[in-house]
Structures are given as C-alpha cells and as structure tokens.
C-alpha cells in the first residue's frame, strides 16, 4: 500500500515536472530545473551520508569542478561533443574525489572529514576567484547550450525549453543510477558498514575500499550535476562552490529525511517552493526561511519523508498504530 501510494505520487510529481513548461511561468520553469539539478546533487551527498555514514562539507567544490570543466570546454569550442563533455566532467569530479578519498578517508572521519573537505572546497573557491583565465570572481558568463546528437538525430538544446527537457531526462537517469547503487548489493553493504563497521570488517568486507568507492561515486555524481547546471544557468562563478552550496545538500537531505532515498529530492523541492512563494516578502526572507526550517525540524524530526512514511504506516496499519509510532518516534536511550 505504502509503495503503491508513494509510487503514484512519484509518477505524478515526475509528470508535473515534465509538463511544467506547458503552463507555468518561465521563472518557475527555471527554478524547477535548478531544483532538479541541486536535488540530484543532494542525492549524491546522501549516497555518502545516508548509506556510508560519511558527511562531507565540501561537496560544493565537486559541483564546482563539474560546472567549471563544462564551462571551460564549451567556451573552448567543444560544443559538438556534449555527451562526452558530461562524461569528462563527471570523471574529473570522480578523480578528484578519489584522490581526496585516498589521502583523507583512512585518516579522518566524522567531523574531521567534514571540516577537511570544507577547507579544501574553500581553497578551490579562493583559487578560482584568482584565475583571470576563468574570469576570476565574475566567472564565465554566456555559456552556450549546445546541440545534442545521438546517431542522426540532433536536438538544439539552445532553443525554447529543450534544455529543460534534457535536464529532466538526465536527472531521471542519474536518479535511477543512484537508486540502483543505493538499493543494490553495494548499497546494502555500505549500510552494513554504517550500522556496525566492526561487524562488517569481521564479515570480510574491505570497509575502506567500500567507503572510498562511495566517496568517488558521490563526487562523480556531484560533478555531473554541476556539469548539467553550467549550460542551464549559462554562467558559472566561484561562488557556485561556496560554503552555502556545500550546506545545501545537507539542508535538503535533513529536511526531506536522510533515511529515505527520496528525502534529499523532497527537501530540495520543498525548500525551493518555500523560497519561491515568499519571494515578494523581501527583507524578512531570513526569518521566514529560518522559522519554516525550524518548524519542520521540530515537528518532523525524521524529515518530511519520515513523517510521510509514518503517516502512511498509521493509515494503513491502524491496529498496530501505537507500536508503529512509538517505534518511529521513541528515541533509543542507553
């Protein structure tokens, strides 16, 4: 029951997104596209956090690497090979994540890893802001949306809402990929490691290798999201990888629910909806956003997805209600 309902909801949400440009204002379409990309970005973060138990505060840096790789290559005239460029950006992000992982993962975890990645991302941002070749603080503007060709068919992504639909497809594929990773053997092993690293090691799992692979995959997807974002925003600036960007996936994930696969996506759309619907209330935006976040955290400490699941469980399993909710809400102490 739970699955069918959630599945229907997913199909409904997907259809609403695809059909959006047919009726909505172009600002809303742009926002929806941006939200899809950062939603995928947040999913990639949660692959690391929710499944491998590693929190990175520097994911903005990887997003930025993907976006800059794409922007530089497009400016360099490689528009013809768009798919190749996406692959290249993804690889770049994965390679950087792998390098960082090799050096850092064995030595530090938890908050130390978080702050280490934060510092690396800040260093990247400062460096980008100093390089004239990539436009320093003002970044690379005027990024073209290239043609996209498979076989004989060519689509001009620069026209109308073509790039939006391209984003829909690309994000759907990335989500599917993440789903497959999270729910396959790899994801299950990661969760075992998260729950009890000693037991996993005892069972013969090379925990370090698994974490490293998760770190790399997460970085690659983050960079891929960045690469998709560059032609969408048509400008990249060093601030694309700033601390706010790095906290975005954390915010979205926790808002939506870290224990749920869809949590980060839900969080991203919820946050965008809050921001868009309060856009005319200038000057008190911080208070509104802060209060809503606070309200959500206090009311749904398991995130929106957690609250949704609890609600469904409550509706579908009425007789066992007490136990189900007490299991969901009772903190385990000592």
């Amino acid at each position: 029951m739970n699955r069918t309902l959630s599945g229907l909801l997913l199909i409904f949400a997907g259809a609403a997104l695809v059909l959006l440009p047919l009726w909505a204002n172009s600002g809303l379409v742009f926002l929806a596209g941006t939200t899809m990309v950062v939603g995928v970005f947040a999913l990639s973060w949660n692959l690391l956090f929710g499944y491998a138990g590693l929190a990175s505060f520097g994911s903005g840096g990887l997003f930025s690497i993907g976006a800059y790789t794409m922007a530089v290559m497009l400016r360099g005239g490689f528009e013809g090979q768009f798919l190749l460029l996406i692959a290249l950006s993804t690889l770049a992000g994965g390679a950087v994540a792998l390098a960082i992982g090799i050096v850092a993962l064995r030595r530090s975890t938890g908050i130390f890893l978080a702050i280490l990645t934060l510092a690396l991302a800040e260093l990247l941002r400062i460096t980008l802001a100093k390089i004239h070749w990539v436009g320093a603080e003002d970044g690379i503007p005027n990024i073209v949306r290239p043609n996209f060709s498979i076989g004989l068919a060519t689509v001009d992504l620069g026209r109308g809402n073509h790039y939006y639909w391209f984003l829909c497809i690309a994000c759907a594929l990335l989500v599917a990929l993440s789903w497959w990773i999270a729910h396959g053997r790899f994801g299950r092993t990661l969760r075992t490691i998260r729950l009890d690293i000693e037991r996993a090691a005892f069972m013969g799992v090379d925990t370090h290798r698994y974490r490293l692979v998760a770190f790399t995959i997460s970085g690659a997807i983050a960079a891929c999201a960045g690469a998709l974002f560059a032609p969408w925003a048509q400008i990249v600036t060093p601030d694309i990888g700033n601390m706010m960007r790095s906290t975005q996936p954390i915010l979205f994930t926790l808002l939506g629910g870290a224990s749920s696969f869809w949590g980060p996506m839900i969080g991203a759309f919820l946050f965008s909806a809050i921001e868009f619907s309060t856009r005319t209330l200038v000057g008190i935006q911080e208070i509104i956003t802060g209060s809503i976040l606070l309200g959500v955290v206090l009311l749904f400490p398991t995130g929106v997805a957690g609250a949704w699941n609890a609600l469904i469980a409550r509706l579908t399993a009425r007789p066992r209600r007490d136990e189900a909710t007490s299991a969901a809400l009772q903190p385990v102490k000592e």
Partner: protein
C-alpha cells in the same frame, strides 16, 4: 616581531569566539552554526549599551558582561525550545536546527538594528599604542590578548579545577550515570549551554571596538572559530587555546611571506594539520 604580537591578537580574538563554541561542542556534541550569530547579537547589544564612544574600559567590559547575560538567556531559550527537543533524534538535525536559528537571528538583527554599518571606538586608555622595546603595539591589541588569556584561565579553572566544572564534565561524559547519582542533568546542560552562549556574547562585547557592526559580522569569525575548535580537538578548551594561537601566527606569517595571497595559509595549514594529526592537537575530549 610585530607580526608575532599581531598574530597573538588575531589568535586571542578567535579564541574568544571559539571558547563558547568548543564548550557547547563538549557538552552537546554539536557544531553550533548559530554561534556566529549570537556573537553578533552580543556585539549589537553591547553597542546599544555603550553607544559609539564608550567612556572607559570598565564601561566596555560592563557592557560586554551584560551582553553575555542577554545572549546567555537567549541560549537557554534556544536550548529549552529547540535543542532539547531534538537532542535524542540524530545529531545532524542539530546542524539544521542551529542553521535555522542562525537565519532567524540574522533576520531579527537586520530588523532591530538595520543594515547600516555601526562602529564603536576603543574607550580612552586603550585607544592608542605603547612602545615595548622600541616596538609599537596598539594597546587595544594588548586588551584583546589579555582578555583572551583571562577568559582561558577562568574557563580552564572552572572546567578542570572547580567542582561545578567537574559536575558539568561528569554530565557531558556520562549523563545517564550523572542522573542516577541524583544530578539534575537537564538543568546542568541548560546552565552549561547558557554559559557557552554567554561566552559568545562576551566575545561580541569585548571585540566590539575591533570590528565594524554589520549583519554579516557573524560570518567573519565563524569559519575561523570552527577551524580552531576542530584543530584544537573538539570540545577541548586547552586545545582550542593552542590552536587559536597557532592560527593567528600562521595568518601573521602568511601576510609576511605570501602577501599576495592573504588568508590562504589558514586553509592550507588546516588541511595539513588534519592530515598529520587527524584528531586535533590534544585529541578529542568530551570536555
């Protein structure tokens, strides 16, 4: 030589801000995103009390103490209505909660004090400089350095020597047992969290003549304070003290040796640090 004195000044300023942050981490195990915002509120409250030209050092310190009390009370409110409610859920939700608190604080500061820059002068007595061994040292720097040292000594005494500190550390290390021993743990945590927020307010008041007041003030120190807390070994006040001094010196050397890249050495130093001593200088300690 001047770089050294100035490095110390920067270090002690950062320590003043980081002290409360490291305490709250020691007690609650959270990285408090709102700490910078409370530091800023402390500064604004103190500036409202002393005006733009404080009459004496005493007036400034008194204003800082009142600011500490106000922010401490705010901290207790936050603890009571936000942090306590979610302390058993998942520590990461604390992160989002303190982030939200930060947004709300910044929003209210903008509403109450506006956006225009405010400035408070150093009071007479510490508004000039002194010659020490033919080296010109601003006396306000000496004020910051001594404030930092005093706050550290008091804090270190309270935590490691005084009985209250022993009780608080007992709560932080094993609250369950503390409660079995009849200690009112929620009240203890409340007081300790109030105390660490009060430290943020105190820092805001003491550093008031050093910085310009604007709603972005919180950000200026937050990242440096985070770094200090982490390098110091999370929740370890002595470690934070050493880390703050190191940070100040690294920053000072940065301006001397690499003037074209101000502020970069702090990050590089920190990355190197975390790789060499992954658990901080003095190791992690639950207070």
């Amino acid at each position: 030589m001047f770089t050294l004195v100035n490095g110390l000044t920067t270090g002690m300023a950062v320590f003043l801000v980081a002290a409360g942050l490291t305490l709250v981490f020691g007690i609650m195990r959270i990285l408090n995103f709102a700490h910078g915002a409370f530091f800023m509120i402390g500064a604004y409250v103190a500036s409202t009390l002393v005006g733009s030209a404080p009459r004496s050092v005493l007036a400034l310190v008194a204003a800082a103490v009142v600011a500490a009390l106000v922010v401490g009370v705010l901290g207790i409110v936050v603890q009571r209505f936000v942090l306590r409610r979610i302390q058993h859920v998942d520590e990461h939700y604390m992160l989002i909660a303190t982030f939200a608190v930060m947004l709300v604080c910044v929003g209210f500061v903008k509403l109450i004090w506006g956006l225009e820059f405010l400035s408070v002068d150093p009071p007479p007595g510490i508004d000039t400089g002194v010659e020490i061994f033919s080296l010109f040292v601003p006396s306000f720097s000496l004020f910051i350095i001594s404030s930092g040292v005093v706050v550290f000594l008091v804090l270190d005494f309270v935590i490691h020597r005084a009985w209250t500190g022993k009780m608080i550390t007992a709560i932080a290390r094993d609250g369950w047992m503390a409660e079995l021993l009849g200690i009112n743990v929620p009240a203890g945590i409340m007081a300790a969290v109030g105390g660490s927020f009060a430290l943020a307010g105190l820092a805001g008041g003491l550093l008031l003549p050093n910085q310009t007041l604007s709603p972005a003030l919180g950000d200026t120190f937050l990242l440096l304070a985070f770094i200090t807390v982490v390098i110091g070994g999370l929740g370890n006040v002595r470690g934070a003290f050493i880390a703050a001094i190191l940070l100040g010196l690294i920053d000072g050397l940065n301006t001397m040796l690499l003037p074209a890249y101000p502020g970069v050495a702090v990050y590089v130093g920190m990355v190197a640090f975390l790789l060499l001593w992954p658990n901080g200088i003095l190791g992690e300690s639950r207070l």
